[in-house]
Symmetry: C2
Subunit: 304 residues, 2 copies
Amino acid sequence: MNGRREFDFIEAIRRQQRRDPRVPVGIGDDTAVLFGGSKDWLATVDMLVEGVHFDRTLMTPGQIGRKAMGVNLSDIAAMAGEPVAALVAIALPRGSEPSLGEELLEGMRQIGEEYGTTIIGGDTNRSTAGLVISVTLLGHPTGRGPVLRSGARVGDAVCVTGSLGYSLVRHHWDFTPRVREATTLHADYEIHSMMDLSDGLASDIFHLAHESGCGFRIRADLIPVVDALITDDRSPLDHALNDGEDFELLFTLPKTEAERLVQRQPLVVPVTIIGEVTAGNNVLLVNAEGKETVLRPGGYVHEW
Amino acid sequence: MNGRREFDFIEAIRRQQRRDPRVPVGIGDDTAVLFGGSKDWLATVDMLVEGVHFDRTLMTPGQIGRKAMGVNLSDIAAMAGEPVAALVAIALPRGSEPSLGEELLEGMRQIGEEYGTTIIGGDTNRSTAGLVISVTLLGHPTGRGPVLRSGARVGDAVCVTGSLGYSLVRHHWDFTPRVREATTLHADYEIHSMMDLSDGLASDIFHLAHESGCGFRIRADLIPVVDALITDDRSPLDHALNDGEDFELLFTLPKTEAERLVQRQPLVVPVTIIGEVTAGNNVLLVNAEGKETVLRPGGYVHEW
């Protein structure tokens, strides 16, 4: 939108991109052009705001760029999809170094390339305040179709990938979007519903409940936590339930399928059964002694 | 990204949207799903930043939303495309009225609907400073394909729709994205290259020159200006060359086609021939007496 500066930034994107046969027209025209083929498209957007999602005194521009693209890759993973193309809009603080935009871009480009994703469009602007980055990511479902939030069935087992609750320890930007893990799961198991964990298990699970019209019974003692990494006075379970930005997959599938899955452990991270899908719409957290707590949407789960 | 507030906003979008058969999964999952069909896709993003692109004391949230969607519709128009689906990311200032998000959305939804566009995804965030809105718009080229910036040929006539240089008078948000005009032109005339005017004719024309590898000879006295509306001490031509946000179409086509076009005048706004495409890469501005000025990329054209 603003002349000379945008022009240079766009040229920088252009130079860094490999030619992608799926993108007959990339950066440099009024819009990009993507080959249609016959596949459906997945589309998602996430915005990162300085002072809310990141602190520029604690993260390099490359790390911020990596996170901005990574959270979108995680959304495509949550549909068991294949990421294809990204559009990036950035507001750069007035007076920031010219290198800021390029380093952000390089962080986005690198992680995008790891997952076969091309940056096909961009818009740079001045910001009167902090840095703001919005990434829109387009992708394809696999031949088995997308895995929706709405497919959970009563009796399904509930599983998660990896370990939860240590995003604060690993600085919340150093995560692996579970793109490959999701497509492996979807190819080889009857996954009924799936989402990625961005706000914390205790909040996110209500999205599955809402979209699927079901309840959940989650076994607190089964939630995979990483005790050794937690250094504050909150329990690992508290972190696992309430901290956001784990970017692991939460999914449901028939119990027999889940048992086959946890026995085989086909992913680079462990898969754990943490509960089951129930009738009704309550989300219950149950401890090892059988004590039940009813969770509330968007609520913080206090220590118990 | 941030729990309860986003959840409500997403529900608001969901309630307002009509069902669109092209969008089997809209708001509410990790990504939206779009039917692929066999058509190619156009994709563009534009970000509006408070204090840079709009002033909240001078525009209502509905007008800001309308502008945020409108600038993207104008980009799809510039490819002679048909807009289909939008993804919206918003950073709302801390402490702003809850109605702010809804009014922005309503402004976007209304103009989107005028052009057959559905909002299929969104992300809302808090902002530590001003309001930031990023809209990504997806669409299809028509059966004749997209009109690129790179297709201008030496000898083409250069045309514009409407009148230039009064964006400041009409408050720069009250513009009509030339979606219908562009598809009419593309259907009935051999349009070689096209773009929308967002930064001002004197800057924007360099994008056509750069992408097409050509020069231009523009007749200053032929540029359609609106004398009567200008109230400051700058000339109408100065406004037409240097002010941004006209959102009219700049395009090239064979001279015989251009003559047929300006004689028939098939659009709701006038089409005017303002010059021709030349060999080389100079952009020349010529006055009625034949005096030539060489324009520079990104430069401001001083009064002459």
